[in-house]
């Protein structure tokens, strides 16, 4: 499999652009989608945001100078698009906000997933009451297992700031558990 750098160079040289881009999408689509879905919960919304993210990548890939990793840049766009979407939803007072509890039992591709338990609902509620930035940092650190340097680049903060966000998130989760 070709590296990101090779694929991007091919794209920039206009060598089979569509094909090259599709290879990039196939390589990274799952991680981007999962991260967005964790934030917005709804598949349709996550799909729409993911498409917007990739369209932005398509439009800006010619100017990408490879000063950072492609995946960092991709996650940064996903982060911005997701936050924009959530802010827009809040302004419109949408009912399908990210504060909804996940439907553990009726998830399409995981009908055999374990049934919801009290702790899972609490975990979901606890995560949803976090500020969006802390949620994003928490997901990137715990589930995606990214290092703080990368998280800092994605969220446009310092390494110290990213660490502080993660630890604040855990503190708030702990407080939430004590209260509930």
């Amino acid at each position: 499999m070709q590296s990101d750098q090779e694929l991007i160079l091919q794209f920039q040289k206009s060598i089979k652009r569509e094909e090259t881009f599709t290879q990039l999408v196939k390589k990274h689509q799952a991680k981007v989608y999962h991260q967005i879905k964790r934030m917005v919960n709804d598949h349709e919304d996550a799909d729409d945001i993911a498409q917007m993210v990739w369209i932005k990548i398509w439009n800006k890939l010619d100017g990408f100078k490879m000063e950072s990793e492609f995946s960092t840049w991709l996650f940064r766009i996903a982060y911005n698009e997701t936050l924009n979407f959530i802010a827009k939803q809040k302004r419109q007072g949408s009912n399908t906000s990210s504060t909804d509890i996940l439907d553990y039992e009726n998830t399409p591709s995981h009908t055999d997933a374990p049934k919801s338990s009290e702790i899972q609902i609490k975990l979901d509620q606890g995560i949803k009451q976090l500020p969006e930035k802390q949620q994003f940092v928490f997901m990137l650190r715990y589930f995606e297992e990214l290092n703080y340097e990368k998280i800092a680049s994605i969220t446009g903060t310092t390494v110290g700031g990213a660490k502080a966000n993660y630890h604040q998130a855990i503190k708030k989760l702990e407080e939430f558990l004590k209260k509930n």
Partner: protein, 143 residues
């Protein structure tokens, strides 16, 4: 070495969460939170390419004949404007050089007849206008 340090920190960070919630609960949460409908990722790249194709701005590249046609039309517009402006300037010049000798007597008579009463009013107003200078002189001479 650095990688090991980062990994250790990651483990510590993950343990902090796992002390609050069980590892299983966290795994189940993520399974539900990031779940995907069947065959979503197989169809996504194609769906994306279609959307990109529909979003592409349409650029029309002109053929050499088209470019020449546009250039000819532009030159025609500029030339027409130039000719029009010049011809209207010539007309003004013609008007300005007409002398009294160029106007026929009939035309002059018709103009005078039409404006005779206006001329009369003008003459009378001039004739009976009080001569302030003369009056002042008269006053001064009496004093």
């Amino acid at each position: 070495m650095e990688q090991k340090k980062i990994d250790t920190t990651l483990e510590d960070d993950q343990l902090m969460v796992e002390r609050l919630f069980s590892k299983e609960a966290l795994a189940n949460y993520d399974m539900s939170a990031s779940s995907v409908p069947a065959s979503y990722f197989e169809t996504f790249p194609e769906k994306l390419q279609n959307r990109i194709a529909n979003n592409k701005p349409k650029i029309f590249f002109l053929t050499p004949i088209g470019k020449m046609a546009i250039a000819a039309a532009f030159i025609l517009v500029v030339a027409s404007t130039f000719i029009f402006l010049n011809s209207s300037t010539d007309n003004n010049l013609e008007l300005s050089t007409i002398t009294i000798n160029d106007i026929s007597n009939d035309e002059i008579e018709a103009y005078v007849d039409a404006n005779e009463w206006m001329a009369e009013i003008d003459w009378q107003s001039e004739a009976f206008k009080p001569d302030t200078e003369a009056e002042q002189f008269y006053k001064d001479s009496i004093d």
